[in-house]
């Protein structure tokens, strides 16, 4: 493959225009010792046809969620992606564009992001959203930085029912001595209301939590507020058609994984980090924010704004180092949420709720397995306690054509049921579960 359009004549003419005799002369100021005196040990290039064959071969070495029945969750979900989403987000004027620093040429991306921010604030019940972060876990890291900045404290309290990947990521980024992380127990699969000391910058609850369970979020956040700490909710945007919004539950900052909003599973990325907060934290928000304004003729237009928070202006004093974000995923999510609207999102939530309830009841009624937390209320995911090690059960279900998981420690297995799964598919899973455990 070659995409440089130069003919031999072009090269000669261009060199001559620069008073140069050869391409090598362009590199002659690289000290000889540093010049690579051999070819790179990479195979020779391929034609497009050969490349497609090779990529098809690699893709065929994977088993995927069109071939296996996907009941897997744990932070990535097989929600339906409507055809309109990528037909529009995939328009090349959008996906081949750069960051909209020249607003006159970038109103498409800028208005899309303004609409994205509007929808995220509508979903979360919080007044301020940025234009995207990398993914859910890194969004939590940014929320932790905002909280330490706002409170002048450095201790983060985090429920043990928060997805382990969030905790691991938070610990990695805290290691520069920005903050420490302590856990709040979650007996019975939901977070216990903690004692929040005066040294706590933020209290973090995931709702619905890693096990799928709904949390007594408001009570935990009351405790945070009483101690002057920020209340952070890790939320699932797909739940917010039927679940009370984070802002109403008392969250000061809401972060979430936006994958399910029209983005493909794609082996874990590119996904979408959601973040929303209250106006008091506006100037601590990380990353790009789009605002509405007018042009010199008074026409409405959109620009990147409040850039005095950002690295290209503030350098070492910036609120975050983020530059490239996940804009295209945010645009896709905007199309997705417009496609669903308020009633489609609520119907999707009702279907996830009912189908996962049905699956959980069937598994506990018809198989030797029990739910890990039989009394708990959940949204689209639940944990099954298995006598046999969960990874063995997962393996047997895989052999039967089902993706489930991830495992919950050594005692359980997560099962996730989105709106895509039918009763007949759930019944087949239940049967396979029974056989896997017998």
């Amino acid at each position: 493959m070659r995409f440089a359009p130069h003919t031999d004549d072009d090269v000669r003419a261009m060199l001559a225009a620069c008073s140069l005799s050869s391409i090598d002369e362009l590199f002659s100021h690289i000290p000889p010792k540093l010049r690579l005196d051999r070819e790179l040990a990479i195979p020779e290039g391929l034609s497009e046809m050969e490349l497609v064959s090779e990529m098809r071969r690699l893709a065929a070495r994977n088993r995927h969620a069109d071939e296996l029945m996907c009941f897997a969750g744990g932070g990535a979900y097989d929600h339906y992606v409507p055809a309109a989403v990528w037909a529009l987000a995939g328009r090349s004027e959008l996906y081949t564009s750069y960051t909209p620093y020249q607003p006159e040429l970038s109103q498409g991306v800028l208005q899309s992001l303004f609409e994205y921010q509007s929808m995220i604030t509508a979903l979360t019940g919080l007044e301020v959203s940025n234009a995207s972060l990398y993914d859910g876990p890194t969004a939590l890291v940014e929320a932790a930085h905002m909280s330490t900045g706002a409170t002048g404290r450095t201790r983060i309290l985090l429920s043990e029912a928060v997805d382990r990947r969030y905790v691991q990521t938070l610990r990695t980024y805290g290691a520069g001595e920005h903050f420490t992380v302590d856990t709040i127990p979650a007996p019975g699969g939901v977070t216990a209301v903690p004692d929040v000391g005066g040294d706590v910058a933020a209290v973090v609850v995931q709702h619905p939590n890693f096990y799928g369970n709904l949390e007594p979020t408001a009570a935990v956040f009351d405790a945070a507020r009483a101690a002057g700490a920020r209340a952070i909710q890790v939320f699932d945007p797909l739940s917010l058609g039927i679940l009370a919004p984070p802002g109403e539950l008392g969250a000061d900052i809401a972060v979430g994984e936006g994958q399910g909003l029209g983005n493909h599973l794609s082996y874990g990325g590119p996904y979408l980090g959601l973040i929303a907060a209250r106006p008091a934290d506006l100037r601590r928000m990380p990353g790009r924010i789009v605002g509405e304004t007018v042009d010199v003729d008074g026409r409405r237009g959109f620009v990147l704004t409040l850039q005095a928070r950002e690295q290209h202006i503030r350098r070492e004093k910036a609120t975050s180092n983020i530059c490239t974000n996940q804009t295209l995923m945010a645009v896709a999510s905007t199309v997705y949420l417009a496609w669903l609207g308020p009633h489609g999102l609520a119907e999707l939530g009702r279907q996830c709720l009912a189908k996962s309830r049905y699956a959980a009841d069937r598994i506990s009624d018809l198989t030797p397995a029990e739910l890990m937390w039989p009394g708990a209320e959940f949204f689209k995911e639940f944990a099954v306690r298995t006598e046999t090690p969960p990874r063995q059960v997962q393996r047997k279900l895989l052999d039967a054509g089902f993706l489930v998981g991830p495992a919950v420690g050594d005692e359980g297995l997560l099962v996730s049921v989105t709106e895509r799964r039918t009763r007949e598919e759930i019944d087949r899973l239940v049967k396979a579960f029974g056989e896997a455990l017998s």
Binding site: R56, T169, L345
Partner: protein
């Protein structure tokens, strides 16, 4: 030749938001009838009011976003000479292969034996990137360049901590990108700035004066942010290594030297790459990217866990989680895999010969364009540029014309402007990177537009001050946007 610019023409365009198009009861969605018993959320958890999302038809949505795309400039629209951004053509075949269900429909928690193709892809891409950079191992977790920087700095910190002292300072040049100092702060270090010398290169004498055993490392691009090759890089490396500090290579400008020189051979210990620059993965209007980080053998233990591993005997790949010195996880899953599929297609589609040609043509294009415009826009520094050059609009200043005015006039002349006012050390900077995928005709047309703008700056400056006049919106009131933030409907 120049691409179709974003134009305002004909009747005024429909600029309504989705909210303004919304009508109660209108909808795009469809869903199967619920085929299991319905249930309800308990009262205290239930949402009382539906979220304030628009109610629109699918036709509304399609017209809306199609219209928005038509008022947006992309690489597919035209030339994009943004310095430090490598806005090259994004091959269509990369999009095609990334959409294969065997890549796009993989769940990140799938067992390793069901994703052997994905792991093989990552393994081979890692080997290729290590070969291009002269490094030993790499991580794919960082989803963007800035994330790669922070990951590299955390590796630096872990290395020094393991050796008994994390140290406290990191050196960056005064011409650096803003993410460098921001990442340094986030990694827990203090920024020390080293000046550029009259040639626009790191002032080696000044560097030698400020290095001591409290310096953890130095971050540098090479070619640097002025598009110049740091010819004394070996001296820089020696100065750092003498005090046990590490050298970090910011890969923003890797495009210039692919197949010709390698950061590892220059003495760099840590390298991040931007696949959305060098390896042509689309910028997506500002993301997603991918920021793989490669390190030399002594830093390998500190890479984020897990890393891909190959069992030579069975030929099977797996994730190696047993990394006791790892800095930990920097991304929720395995990084921006879908972007890495595109990067793989680019690297292996080009191959060793093609990658070397990429660098050569990129440097040729930048040098040619610099020659074409330098009489009106002198180079900020005398050295021969590599893949980009920094010119200055300073000569126009006395007529009251600024670099931004030239940029806006270029829009009316049909081009996306170059990067302006960066690097910060150059007055009225115009940073131009044509990339290898532009033709001689396009470069000539752009040069003519630059020269025309310079001429107009003397003869008819209001054309520049008023510009742009052809776009759907003209210059926007950014001060008002910041003073009275309106950030949602």
């Amino acid at each position: 030749m120049t691409g179709a610019p974003v134009r305002r023409d004909g009747p005024d365009i429909d600029r309504r938001t989705l909210k303004e198009r919304s009508r109660p009861g209108r909808r795009a969605w469809s869903m199967p009838e619920l085929d299991v018993p319905g249930t309800e959320v308990s009262g205290r958890q239930r949402r009382q009011e539906p979220p304030d999302l628009p109610e629109v038809s699918e036709t509304d949505i399609v017209r809306h976003f199609t219209r928005l795309s038509q008022i947006n400039y992309g690489v597919d629209t035209g030339f994009y000479p943004l310095g430090s951004c490598s806005m090259k053509y994004n091959p269509k075949v990369a999009e095609t292969v990334a959409a294969l269900p065997g890549f796009q429909r993989l769940h990140p928690h799938q067992p390793e034996d069901t994703v052997q193709g994905a792991l093989e892809l990552l393994w081979r891409l890692e080997r290729a990137l290590c070969e291009i950079t002269g490094m030993a191992r790499a991580t794919f977790q960082p989803p963007a360049g800035a994330s790669g920087e922070l990951t590299g700095l955390m590796i630096m910190r872990a290395y020094h901590t393991k050796n008994g002292n994390p140290r406290s300072k990191v050196v960056i040049p005064d011409s650096s990108h803003g993410t460098n100092p921001a990442s340094v702060t986030l990694s827990g270090y203090k920024v020390v700035q080293v000046p550029s010398d009259p040639r626009g290169l790191v002032d080696l004498a000044a560097l030698e004066r400020l290095v001591d055993e409290d310096i953890a490392g130095l971050m540098l691009t090479n070619p640097n942010t002025l598009g110049l090759f740091e010819e004394e890089i070996q001296g820089v490396a020696a100065a750092m290594h003498r005090v046990g500090a590490l050298l970090y290579y910011d890969g923003a400008n890797l495009n210039a030297i692919m197949g010709r020189a390698r950061p590892g051979d220059m003495g760099f210990d840590i390298v991040h790459m931007n696949t959305h620059k060098t390896f042509a993965t689309p910028h997506g209007g500002g993301g997603p990217g991918a920021g793989p980080v490669a390190v030399n053998a002594r830093l390998e233990p500190f890479l984020p866990a897990p890393v891909v591993a190959l069992d030579e005997e069975s030929g099977l790949y797996h994730w190696d989680h047993d990394r006791p010195d790892s800095i930990g996880r920097v991304h929720g899953f395995h990084g921006n895999f879908g972007v890495l599929v595109r990067a793989f297609a680019y690297v292996f589609g080009h191959g060793r010969d093609g990658l070397r040609e990429v660098g050569e043509r990129a440097v040729l294009n930048a040098n040619y364009l610099a020659c074409r415009v330098k009489d009106a826009f002198p180079l900020a520094f005398p050295g021969r540029p590599m893949h980009e050059f920094v010119a200055t609009a300073r000569p126009l200043r006395k007529g009251g014309v600024r670099a931004m005015d030239v940029a806006k006039r270029l829009i009316d002349l049909g081009f996306h402007p170059p990067t302006v006012y960066f690097p910060l050390i150059v007055e009225e900077a115009m940073m131009i990177e044509p990339t290898e995928t532009e033709s001689l005709e396009t470069l000539d047309a752009f040069a003519e537009a630059m020269l025309q703008a310079a001429k107009e700056a003397h003869e008819d400056p209001h054309l520049l001050h008023e510009a742009p006049v052809t776009t759907p919106v003209r210059r926007l009131d950014e001060a008002r946007a910041a003073r009275e933030p309106k950030l949602h409907w």
